[in-house]
Symmetry: C2
Subunit: 294 residues, 2 copies
Amino acid sequence: MNIGIIGLGLIGGSLGLDLRSLGADSAENATPEGYRKPGRVLGVSRRQSTCDRAVALGAVDEADADLSLMAQADLIFICTPLSAIAPTVEQLVDHLKPNAILTDVGSVKTPVVRTLSPLWPNFVGGHPMAGTAESGIEAAQFHLFAGRPYVVTPTETTPPAAVREVVAIAESLEAKVYSCPPEAHDRAVAWISHLPVMVSAGLIASVAGETDPEVLDLAHKLASSGFRDTSRVGGGNPELGVMMAKYNREAVVRSLHTYRQTLDEIADAVVREDWGELERYLTDTQKARSQFNL
Amino acid sequence: MNIGIIGLGLIGGSLGLDLRSLGADSAENATPEGYRKPGRVLGVSRRQSTCDRAVALGAVDEADADLSLMAQADLIFICTPLSAIAPTVEQLVDHLKPNAILTDVGSVKTPVVRTLSPLWPNFVGGHPMAGTAESGIEAAQFHLFAGRPYVVTPTETTPPAAVREVVAIAESLEAKVYSCPPEAHDRAVAWISHLPVMVSAGLIASVAGETDPEVLDLAHKLASSGFRDTSRVGGGNPELGVMMAKYNREAVVRSLHTYRQTLDEIADAVVREDWGELERYLTDTQKARSQFNL
């Protein structure tokens, strides 16, 4: 089976490194689930320089700026930014083998699945939740997905055989594979990934708005691990934050609404000096946090 | 000069370790600022077992459960929890040398300074901003304060000589010493330490309140570094969180009020799909975060 990768950045490049290292296609290599290890790994990037670099780094066997290379691929990962997924697939479908399986790695699933399923029925939404602070082909690394969640989001119309193929590959990367509807994925990542960005950005903006220069200067100097951790994701890539809110708007708005009500309850306890209530709240959050796989 | 330490936990014990290691009192050891290295380090803890342990660990030369030991001390650090500072000093003043200098290490300064200054005019509010996840005398360590902020909060009535002594000791610990009014300290720590706890607790409570069990289960499984960091301080010691809100209530309420307005602006941009506005916000927060000493 030949694997295609469109978009040779951190995720696409890291997928290529692992998939190439899994070895050549052969009947002997077939797993009980029927997953055959990849034949060739073929990459597409808009920039020829990225194609050349991906080959040099060993992330792909061959790369080209033209989507027609994907005519040789049996399973294709779309690893472009969210906004480029649909336009890419619109051009891609004319080149594909009739039985080719498409999957993507976008961090929001409902709009992607809704748009791509009619374009190519043999599509499986996917989200490998692995990243680093770096991006681009130079940041690609082996075993990026090992031990990390990899969510697949089939719908009622997704062909089960296509889901099995994508799951088998995700498992071969040693990822922890979860399957759920696109909407459940998006609500979960709104809570644990997108809401934290907004909450954290709000914290930075509030402090930065302090009008007393002595207090602001002290805040700058005294900030320590608590502020550092709570503000980290709010000080991240602005384009990424906008992308989350734009593509997962419904779930983000819903989570912000709930968050605001919750914060009001905490603030009310402080205003009313109801320390018993505040302590119950903080005891509950201490306990609730231990439920997360952190 | 003999140093007294009341409360032999992480902070008191670590102060003792460093101050004992600075060597014996002698004219030769005097710094240009007039700070004479300590003579003996004397400790007080309510529990005799803690006293014994502090001596065994080398944190103090001598320790006792009775405050009368402080009659030998020239400069005394009150290292009890915030709620015990005033009651401790009320009992302590009967034992003190007339010229003894008192200082504390409480994380909120306005109420402490307001209460203690009338009890003992030779008092200097202080806040060494060093801590670990551990507490208690067993967690005491050398160089805990090196490179960390140490805020002193004199008022118009604080004797300058007493401030100089406390600053000289803080500098001998290799801390970064800052001086400001108690109110400025409290507003700054509300921003960078107390508000983050409330913001972070609100995040945990919001997610934990998700009523769809599939979404909640996914959130638990998919949570990663973003949620881990943003939720860390909200999952911390509940008593500490209550203490912050209780003793720094005015500044915490003010910061929560500003935070809520700021978050509403972010939420409004998402609701209105004003992605340009959201991107400006996130670009500003990315830039603003770089101003902090993190």
